[in-house]
């Protein structure tokens, strides 16, 4: 499917009428998912994990990335590695634990043993193999073709010829920097993974994670809850901008009335909390001056890295990645990250803030999950009701938080990668938004 005929176009973009439509088949068809696996998940940089998850030499964890079981580890010298978790001999996973510390990995099937650098160290019956067996390294663990890190976020890529990670992230780096700059000692993943699935197409979570338009209705009960907390909300509304960051990445950056552990106080945190927040804010001003400090402290960011990484710096910070199993089922992993030096008070309130809104037991995410599953169900009508509308705020010089500019950035890149022979004309550029 390299060419799209008029009958099977995935995007309809009309600049004159300012309409942007996406075919609902993109959420339901197996051939679309097959093309996404080949042209997006096999080509793009994909988030693997954070350096803080492997704090010590020989730490390891196992995790699926785009359906591939990956072993992510540090060797004895502290170097990071990413291997395909499969024995070069007969295929079994060489590591079956979720995380731990190990100086070697032994495949239990026939006993082949590998170093943390992935080298075959020993194998029973060595005498039955030629003397130069593995002289070429062909029965060492296979490493991910590309592995790179940006400010603690580790990515892998299955395409040897892909551009480097820094080029790939492009303008999104600025936002990762703003998030990471709140910490002097480096960000850390806080213990505990929120691990869940949603019976919906993976792209629905991309849209939802950077959607400022749905909050008022989908999350009415969350805002009602905030009003009920002691003293209510900070005195500001949800207002800001949405941006296309290029390469399919997008962001919304805005003020919001909820408390932020870095660093926006709300009455529910009391006078002690006020002092804590003031100290965090003063430290930011001392390090960066008040303009950047105000951005770090007072602005929220929902940052999307194409194709499936979300870093939302909101009432807490969540890192979320998700992969399709089938067109109508995705697997989600979500973590909390925080400045590693933050004190007990800030950590406690951060986690409490996180759970109020975020995750499968929060006051908001379950309603998002319901919305996505309802969309997927609605797509059963795709033959007779074939189009999604993603037109909100199209053609404005500066899009608002509750416009859909950042979603159009995603869909345009998605379409260009899947159908390189019929690229979508760019609707707007980041430069145009500035």
């Amino acid at each position: 499917m390299t060419m799209q005929g008029d009958h099977d176009r995935m995007l309809l973009v009309d600049h004159e009428k300012k309409l942007f439509k996406v075919s609902r088949r993109s959420f339901t068809d197996q051939d679309i998912l097959d093309a996404e696996r080949a042209r997006i998940f096999a080509r793009c940089w994909l988030y693997l994990g954070h350096v803080s998850e492997l704090p010590k030499p020989n730490d390891f964890l196992t995790r699926d990335v785009a359906g591939r079981p990956i072993l992510f580890n540090r060797d004895g010298k502290g170097e990071l590695h990413a291997f395909f978790n499969t024995c070069p001999h007969r295929g079994a996973q060489v590591c079956r634990e979720r995380s731990g510390r190990a100086k070697s990995f032994q495949c239990f099937y026939h006993g082949w043993t590998f170093t943390p650098e992935g080298k075959l160290r020993s194998w029973p019956g060595e005498e039955d193999y030629p003397k130069d067996f593995n002289a070429d390294g062909s029965v060492d663990l296979v490493a991910a073709p590309r592995f790179e890190e940006y400010r603690g976020f580790c990515f892998i890529c299955f395409d040897r010829d892909a551009p480097g990670l820094a080029d790939y992230l492009g303008a999104a780096k600025e936002y990762i920097d703003v998030i990471c700059d709140q910490s002097e000692a480096g960000m850390t993943v806080v213990g505990g993974t929120q691990d869940y699935s949603i019976r919906a197409n993976w792209k629905l979570l991309t849209e939802n994670s950077i959607d400022g338009y749905h909050a008022a209705t989908t999350h009415a009960t969350y805002f009602a809850y905030l009003q009920n907390t002691t003293g209510g909300l900070a005195k500001m509304g949800v207002a800001g901008v949405g941006r296309d960051l290029g390469n399919g990445h997008g962001v919304v950056e805005y003020t919001a009335p909820w408390g932020r552990p870095v660093a926006q106080w709300i009455p529910a945190w009391g006078e002690d909390g006020k002092r804590e927040i003031q100290a965090i804010y003063d430290n930011l001003v001392a390090r960066y001056g008040s303009e950047k400090a105000d951005r770090i402290a007072g602005k929220n960011r929902n940052l999307f890295i194409f194709p499936n990484l979300i870093i939302n710096d909101i009432m807490a910070i969540t890192v979320r990645t998700y992969f399709p199993s089938t067109p109508d089922l995705m697997q989600v992993n979500a973590w909390a990250i925080a400045p590693s030096e933050e004190n007990e008070w800030a950590r406690k309130y951060r986690l409490s803030n996180f759970l109020e809104f975020l995750g499968p037991g929060g006051f908001a995410t379950p309603d998002d999950v319901e919305a996505l599953e309802q969309c997927q169900r609605g797509f059963m009508n795709r033959l007779e009701a074939p189009w999604q509308d993603i037109s909100k705020g199209m053609g404005k010089p500066v899009a608002k938080t509750d416009d859909e500019e950042q979603m159009r950035a995603f869909w345009t890149q998605w379409n260009d990668r899947l159908f390189p022979d019929s690229p979508t004309a760019r609707v707007s550029h980041r430069e145009a938004a500035e």
Partner: protein, 161 residues
């Protein structure tokens, strides 16, 4: 707390389950003390992990638990509209420790949730701290440790376990 039998505790927990299954959530909330907590830790955490330093699914104090009930009773709690049907099965109830101020009770649970065309099951253990108050039993802490490795395919804990 010497006089309370396991059967009395079981009756109390069966009553709790019935209130949840009947969506009598305000009556259910009245079973909790004013300083109560309700926890559902993430599934990759060790037993006893603290919600102050680890990411849970749910870590409610009494105020937030009350707000959870408020929310669930609204039509705009979209995840539970129309309301799902649930069945809370409680088994293997055992008084693990009798203290001066209360009981530590362990139980196994399987909770079925049906909504639309799907039925999901949540399975795990519960650790209760139960205290006497005005001649009745009250829950001071309820900690649900899921046995699944993640919420797959449940996707959410929009009901109370």
């Amino acid at each position: 707390m010497d006089g309370i039998s396991r059967i009395e505790v079981e009756d109390f927990l069966f009553w709790e389950a019935e209130l949840l299954d009947d969506w009598r959530l305000k009556d259910w909330l009245a079973l909790f003390t004013d300083d109560a907590h309700y926890y559902v830790p993430s599934t990759d955490l060790p037993p006893g992990a603290s919600p102050d330093t680890n990411l849970f699914y749910i870590a409610d104090d009494r105020f937030r638990l009350g707000e959870r009930v408020e929310r669930l009773m609204k039509k705009s709690a979209h995840a539970e509209f129309p309301r799902s049907k649930t069945r809370h099965l409680i088994s293997n109830v055992r008084i693990r420790e009798r203290r001066e101020d209360g009981l530590e009770v362990g139980a196994a649970f399987a909770t079925y949730r049906s909504k639309g065309e799907t039925t999901d099951v949540y399975v795990g253990s519960i650790l209760y701290r139960i205290v006497p108050q005005d001649g009745a039993l009250r829950i001071q802490e309820k900690r649900c440790q899921l046995d699944m490795n993640g919420l797959k395919p449940q996707g959410r804990i929009s009901i109370i376990l």
